[in-house]
Assembly symmetry: C2
Homo-oligomer: 597 residues x 2
């Protein structure tokens, strides 16, 4: 998961001492990676348990393979930090070295990752919660939606959380897991008895396909290792050295946690139990199901909620970047109060909410999808680094390039494995959505280029010139509102025309209006428009279209009541006319709000 901090632009401007050290960098930016410990090992065990105890024996080898891939990725991203000191995720690397199309693929995979990170983290957090409080299990989808809405609401209010704040829950979680596995490693077996597994024990053979599927599934544990490389500018000087140290530290920490967890799972003989996470089983084996157990589960919940939160810092910023490059509608670049990219937050919440509801908050369906998206990014990054070394050359560049090729081959293999093994279980969704997103970016860009050409964005347009102008003022009745509207119109145009829509079933009222107008003598010609169907917009539109002047302004006066509730008293005629005139004519629509005092 490419975690960019909640407010990168501001943080860059912040004072040096507010920036990250290696240690706070691991906590703040490594949050997603550390959080994946909560669902990564589980993803492996769930596949292997299908082959009974024989299958479970493969837990440690599969985990070692994943940790080797982890070391490969960490080495790659340390290279990326060195090569892109301004921060470069797969998007930057791919755009720079593989061209715009590859960059768009990387961007699309990032969008998918951000959405899946929210869905997976929320679902895994709720799973940790229901493991501690089984009574809540039946409410899983509802709890997921509530957590999602709370996180989205916090981000809509623009409450930024600093990396430092993240350090505490991350540290609590890491220490807790280390204690749990420490007890297990020392004791050599469960201290407290584990609940009986609910899956029927089949003594299947451990085929190569099963091991590959477990490997692919477990790759979800590697999500998030790229975050530090993306945010190099957030570190204190010397930035690159600190970032490289943080990346190595994160890799080490994650590797230790994964391997030791795999060993303890193996020693405890932990097997899937319905309604329980594997981490909660291991914790129970070490600490029993007392206070310690609840503390570990709750720290997991908090960590996963924070991991979900990082997407809200990332996706809206990425969307704004894409919007600035014309690949997404410009509304994503719009910031509301408190600098929030409101549209990005909305879209992220809506998409991840749809995923959570669609899968009923089931972590095990979501995790493999997540791995697919993330590995697309890894692959592009490594291929890009190969091109980078070939271009930049420098000391031992051939070795570095060869390493990138090797890494790319490994990542491609992992990507192939996870996609193939999970294609029918939802993988097709990613395979479908990724190219659709790329096509979408391209279509949007083309439309903006067409619009830009139409308004002479590059050429110098003709100079503005003054021309004649007629101001049309619909008048309902002769009041101070009408007087104010006509005064404004007279100040605006060379020629002013007052319009009164006369319903044909109200002859008496129409006669009275004309009479009162005669008495008023406002020095403005009055045009009475017949309306056979009591519509107000139709006759006005027809009149505006019939005017000979090229430049027509329609001025609509509306009363703005003093009290808020009185707004429901407005008749919305102004809105109806404004909409019809704006849509169906070329006239400029002016709205005058007449405030009652």
């Amino acid at each position: 998961m490419t975690a960019i901090l909640t407010k990168p632009a501001e943080q860059v401007r912040d004072h040096e001492k507010h920036r990250l050290t290696s240690v706070t960098g691991i906590a703040g930016l490594g949050l997603d990676a550390i959080a994946s410990v909560a669902y990564g090992p589980e993803a492996i065990v769930l596949v292997l348990a299908a082959a009974g105890s024989v299958g479970m024996g493969a837990t440690i080898p599969v985990t070692i393979a994943i940790v080797l891939l982890l070391l490969l990725l960490v080495a790659t991203y340390r290279q990326v930090i060195a090569a892109f000191p301004d921060g470069g995720g797969a998007y930057t690397v791919a755009t720079r070295h593989l061209g715009r199309s590859a960059g768009l693929v990387a961007a699309a995979s990032l969008v998918i990752d951000y959405v899946l990170n929210v869905a997976v983290s929320v679902a895994a957090g709720v799973a940790a919660l229901t493991s501690a409080f089984p009574a809540l299990l039946a409410w899983t989808p509802e709890l997921c939606v509530v957590v999602l809405l709370v996180i989205a609401a916090i981000n809509l209010r623009g409450i930024a959380m600093s990396a430092r704040l993240f350090a505490l829950p991350a540290a609590v979680f890491v220490v807790a897991v280390l204690i749990v596995v420490g007890i297990g490693l020392i004791h050599g077996g469960p201290v407290h008895p584990l609940p009986a597994p609910t899956q029927p024990v089949t003594v299947g053979s451990v085929g190569i396909l099963l091991v590959l599927a477990a490997f692919g599934n477990g790759c979800a544990a590697l999500t998030g290792v790229e975050a530090i490389a993306n945010a190099t500018p957030s570190f204190r000087k010397p930035r690159q050295r600190r970032a490289r140290t943080a990346e190595a530290g994160l890799g080490l920490l994650l590797g230790v946690l994964l391997i030791s967890l795999a060993v303890v799972i193996d020693r405890y003989g932990a097997r899937p139990v319905a309604g329980r996470t594997i981490l909660s089983l291991v914790t129970e084996g070490s600490l029993g199901n007392g206070v310690g157990y609840v503390v570990v589960q709750l720290s997991t919940v908090v960590l996963l909620a924070l991991a979900a939160n990082t997407s809200y810092g990332g996706l809206p910023v990425l969307a704004a970047k894409l919007a600035a490059d014309d690949f997404l509608p410009h509304v994503f670049g719009l910031r509301a109060d408190r600098m929030v990219h409101r549209y990005g937050v909305f879209v992220l919440a809506a998409l991840s909410g749809a995923l959570l509801i669609g899968t009923a908050g089931n972590v095990n369906i979501l995790v493999p999808l997540f791995a697919i998206g993330v590995f697309v990014g890894f692959l592009l990054c490594q291929v890009g680094m190969f091109r980078h070394w070939r271009e930049v050359r420098g000391r031992a560049w051939r070795w570095k390039a060869a390493f990138s090729v090797f890494g790319a081959a490994m990542t491609a293999a992992a990507l192939l494995v996870v996609t193939a093994s999970k294609f029918l279980e939802g993988g097709w969704l990613i395979v479908l959505v990724l190219p659709l997103l790329v096509v979408g970016f391209t279509v949007v860009r083309r439309a903006y280029q067409r619009i830009g050409a139409a308004i002479d964005v590059d050429a110098m347009p003709a100079q503005p010139r003054r021309t004649g102008c007629v101001v049309v003022v619909p008048v309902v009745s002769i009041t101070r509102l009408a007087a104010e509207s006509l005064s404004t119109a007279m100040s605006m145009g060379d020629r002013v025309v007052a319009l009164h829509v006369a319903f044909d079933d109200e002859t008496e009222a129409n006669r009275k209006f004309a009479e009162r107008w005669q008495q008023w003598r406002p020095d403005v010609p009055l045009v009475m428009l017949d309306s056979a169907h009591r519509t107000i917009d139709e006759p006005i539109v027809r009149y505006v279209k019939s005017l000979p002047e090229g430049r027509v302004v329609v001025l609509i006066g509306e009363i703005e009541p003093t009290r808020l509730w009185e707004r429901i008293l407005r008749n919305r005629r102004g809105a109806v006319v404004a909409r019809a005139v704006g849509r169906r004519t070329c006239a400029v629509v002016c709205r005058l709000r007449f405030r009652l005092t």
Copy 2:
């Protein structure tokens, strides 16, 4: 239920031959009354069955009492037809003779009735459907909502149904019920065996309270008898004679149906069966459960759907009338395409939908509430008629006045009985909502009077005068859009100022803009506004407020893309600025849509 025809205003204008005769009047306007046969007798039986077979013995006497009340009401409404040839429901009579407050009470009771008519008719229609197809029983609330949405959608599209169209289903229903009761009366007992009652047979005593409760509940069978009097102008000439004949015919028909149904229920010993309507039990007793049974049930469903539909003709027209008198927000007077009072239709669907969902489509909760609202209208109408006779005098006026007093006393007694017996089972809702509606009408009216006074609605306002005017044009970049906006502004104002919001983190872009402006030389002063927080609305609002001119116009140019989907590409900056300026300043907001060609 005061059924006004779907489109009364148009119908009045229609040619004479399109108007109602006595017979089509009974079908078209008596629909609600006839439809109440589907739930009225059931309401009686449900209360009495609580006292076992002894209680059931009271079915015929209670029905006779209700039919006597029916005759009283029919006589009253024949008087109303004579006295108010322009059509007058409780609202007209009460307003004319009892003052505005009584009129508002009548209006509030009408609003409640319209809403409850929809809820009761839909729920009873679905009950008839699930009686025929028990598999649908579990889906009762969902079916209610679907039926409601379909009826609302038809009315939003403005598909008017003529009274003639209503004649066929009403006739089918009446003939079907007459056949069913005819067989019962001739045979003297069930031809086919009835299913066993599901209510435990308690042999309770038949207290006076039980009988009163059954009477009150059964009064729901009388809803709708006032509809003909409300719509006298819809009849062919001689209108009053035809309307009086129709009213008498409707009363006769309804009376015959109610009494004969009661006798057959008694002969068949029909008792409540879960998931079945009483009418469906009686039908099964006469025709068995073959094709005939399904035909009767389906004709009931169609009739009840049409009965619900009449509210959609009535409430929006009443709301528009109240809005014209300033008692409701004026939006209710607004007609959309095809002359539909869209807001009225929305509000009716929302309120009756809430009732249906809140009661899970249970007819037996809704029916007594309906009776309460309707009887408030009956009472006001009769008291009003008493005043009318005292005022008008004429032949034998004392007798007529005495009759009205007697009718009012009977109606008041019935109202008291139904309210008291059903107060805890939802009656409180009506007792609460009715005065709240009246208070709401009054508050809205006062606000309109205050607003009217503030804009000199009655006095002659000052004559409009031309004054100086500055036009402010926010410019984002130098394009054809900017040129067009500035040209329009120059044609509109004495003084034009171009504004450019400069984000403080984009110094390079700002410098380039200023440079390009120099090259363009548009003969308009440019003001660069600093924005520290990348907001666009804040600096513009501050600038507009700082201007010395009294009359400020802010002209916002926006691109209107050619294709519909391209609308999502608009950046909404114009909307953000327009909203902020409109809300926070006194400036006139003008929006220029620049169409790409």
